[in-house]
């Protein structure tokens, strides 16, 4: 890391600190509001009483066992997907990249669908999803490294697309073969993403692996920023681009696979949120990463709150993120803003 790169980025951070603080406060307020909203009517004082263990009875069941795990999971999943999306976008120097570019979602979906098809317990379905996501990306990297003499990024992306298509085909095959009453609906529901079943145990399960992926990204955010300059420039500045790229892919994949395992396939967050963050703080990854994560957390918190309160039945997350995210994305495109690296 050179002094030059640090010197040019650091003042920017100082200006942005109030923004990060503001966003964090807004997120905290949002989380508290979300805790107070739900089909089971509770006032804010009742929610606070339940949180501190003074309410007793059903209010505590609703807050501690149902609402709090879900609110926390929504924020975790949103933050993770947005952070992974921001990392991939910097890595590939392309704003149209989302976390599933290397096939992690398709692989995870295939793993989970296998688990549902075999009627396994929930924990095994989650494990299959996690491993499926990791396996798909490992395979992509392995193949891309075996193919030499071509633009590495191009090979990675194309292999990712192919892997995604293959996993998608296998998933469709399993859907055709699945039991239409007890498996097919579960598969469909999983593929659309939902936090309806999240328990505090699920959170405990994925938190370590999300942290394991997030920490290197945060620590290396200055260096990762240099990847956006291109390999040659990065090398000139003392960064081993191929190695760093691999590390970022590993970290972002770990994060995505972990949250997909508990939430199912939730699209659009990783694609759209980094754009919003970029509009606010510019393209520097060092600030883009935390800001993306906070906005992502807030966005999914909003979407999940809608999903559990709009109707008697749950509306799958994937549907809402697309319905809300797609028009916004078009709006961004129409504005023609080039706020990106």
């Amino acid at each position: 890391m050179t002094d030059h790169a640090l010197a040019s980025a650091r003042p920017a951070r100082r200006r942005r600190l109030p923004l990060v603080a503001t966003l964090t406060l807004v997120l905290a307020a949002g989380a508290l509001t979300a805790l107070a909203i739900g089909p089971f009517r509770l006032s804010l004082p009742e929610v606070l009483a339940a949180l501190t263990g003074r309410a007793g009875g059903q209010a505590e069941v609703v807050i501690w066992n149902i609402r709090l795990p879900r609110v926390l999971a929504a924020m975790l999943v949103g933050a993770a997907l947005a952070a992974a999306g921001a990392s991939y976008q910097v890595l590939f120097r392309n704003p149209l990249v989302s976390p599933d570019i290397l096939g992690v979602s398709s692989g995870a979906a295939l793993g989970a669908v296998c688990g549902i098809f075999l009627s396994l317990p929930m924990i095994a379905i989650q494990g299959f999803a996690f491993l499926g996501g990791l396996a798909a990306v490992s395979l992509v990297i392995f193949i891309a490294q075996a193919v030499r003499g071509v633009d590495q990024t191009l090979v990675l992306v194309l292999t990712g697309v192919v892997m995604g298509a293959l996993a998608g085909a296998a998933t469709s095959l399993l859907k055709v073969m699945a039991d239409p009453y007890d498996q097919l609906p579960a598969i469909t529901f999983w593929l659309l993403g939902s936090l309806a079943r999240t328990t505090s145990a699920d959170l405990g399960l994925v938190l370590p692996s999300v942290a394991l992926g997030l920490v290197p990204l945060i620590l290396l955010r200055w260096r990762i920023n240099l990847l956006s300059l291109g390999d040659d420039e990065a090398r000139a500045l003392g960064v081993d681009a191929p190695k760093l790229r691999l590390l970022v892919i590993a970290a972002a994949t770990l994060i995505t696979a972990s949250v997909v395992a508990i939430a199912g396939v939730v699209g659009w967050v990783g694609l759209v949120i980094p754009h919003i963050a970029r509009m606010l703080v510019g393209p520097s990854f060092a600030t883009l990463l935390p800001v993306s994560a906070i906005i992502g957390a807030g966005y999914l918190l909003l979407v999940d709150t809608l999903s559990r309160t709009m109707a008697t039945i749950e509306i799958p997350l994937g549907i809402l993120t697309a319905v809300l995210g797609a028009p916004f994305f078009l709006y961004l495109l129409a504005r023609g803003r080039r706020g990106w690296a």
Binding site: E60, V61, N65, D182, G204, E314
Partner: protein, 340 residues
């Protein structure tokens, strides 16, 4: 931190509910030991099959239906239960119910009737731990029907009702067994279940959709499949080659259009007039959903397969079945619409 508080909250809750009522322990079909309150006044049905099981056993304990009944279905259901609200399901069978809503309804019990495979056992354990509401899983296989009825009778504290219905289901199974005992394989009809308006969706041997076909003595023309367990797409060519003796369907659209269809009209079964439309009100007689509604479907299908040998007055039987199971007295008009 969260977990420990969660545990404290759970223990507090359990302690509270234990003090309120004297509990009893019931073992469900999955072998889970579930602690139940002495009286069960209200039950949340986790999916469509469970809602039907609950409706036939004790409609007064129902809180609602997985989805609101359509007007044509309401006509064949007893009031006021027909108009109960839509609550969604807990089993991912279309329309996920919100857990908070379930807690807000304060049911004494959550009932699921269907698969007792690991995924569903796990789901039951999780929902029970999260909501603190006892969750009972009952095996929904067709052959298990009498056992399921008796088990629910015991759980709800109405063993006589469970016994009455179980005996009727057993009598139906016995009637079919007696019929089939004298009919060698060679004389059994080769049958096809046509689903969807184009009639080209069906199930292979072993699928829950065609279970009743085989139970009533038919031979599924699609046979077994190594790959599929559920619904399959059938090509018309394969069907023409399989040449079924009888085609059964519950799809009104298919039944209306098949005779004029250039392809279907070539089938031998169609030319011989052997395409039979099953009643679907208030619940399907063949599947949709695969629950107790298939008991009357069994009598209907045996009549279709063995019109000369199955000695039963289907109209009388239907009238009795709807009175005993569905709590309604069919009018002549209704009966005529069910069995034209």
């Amino acid at each position: 931190m969260i977990r420990s508080l969660f545990t404290v909250a759970l223990i507090a809750l359990l302690a509270q509910s234990a003090a309120a009522q004297s509990p009893r322990i019931v073992t469900d079909s999955a072998g889970r030991q579930v602690e139940l309150p002495e009286r069960i006044e209200t039950v949340f049905a986790a999916g469509p099959p469970a809602a039907i099981l609950l409706y036939v056993m004790a409609p007064d304990r129902m809180l609602g239906w997985p989805r609101a009944n359509r007007p044509d279905e309401r006509e064949f259901l007893a009031q006021p239960y027909a108009d109960l609200p839509e609550l969604g399901t807990l089993t991912d069978q279309g329309g996920e119910a919100n857990l908070e809503r379930v807690v807000a309804l304060e049911p004494n019990l959550i009932l699921d009737f269907g698969s007792v495979r690991d995924t569903y056992v796990d789901l039951a354990n999780r929902v029970q731990a999260q909501t603190g509401i006892p969750y009972v899983l009952i095996d929904g296989r067709f052959e298990n029907t009498p056992t399921a009825l008796r088990l629910l009778g015991e759980i709800l504290g109405i063993p006589e009702r469970g016994e009455t219905l179980a005996a009727d289901a057993e009598a139906t199974f016995a009637r079919i067994d007696a019929l089939l005992a004298d009919i060698p394989e060679a004389y059994r009809p080769r049958a096809y279940l046509a689903r969807r308006p184009d009639g080209l969706e069906s199930g292979v041997v072993g699928s829950i959709n065609t279970e009743i076909l085989e139970r009533a003595g038919g031979i599924n023309v699609l046979g077994r499949s190594a790959a599929a367990r559920g619904l399959v797409q059938v090509s018309f060519e394969a069907l023409l080659a399989a040449d079924p003796d009888v085609i059964v369907t519950w799809d009104r659209q298919f039944h209306e259009s098949h005779r004029d269809d250039p392809l279907w009209s070539r089938m031998r079964a169609v030319q011989e007039g052997n395409v039979h439309l099953s009643p679907v009100l208030p619940f399907g007689w063949i599947d949709r959903p695969p629950s107790l509604n298939r008991i009357i479907g069994l009598d209907w299908m045996a009549t279709v397969f063995f019109p000369d040998r199955y000695q039963i007055d289907l109209r009388e039987r239907t009238r009795d079945f709807y009175r005993l199971w569905y709590h309604i007295d069919l009018s002549e008009d209704q009966l005529a619409r069910l069995l034209p």
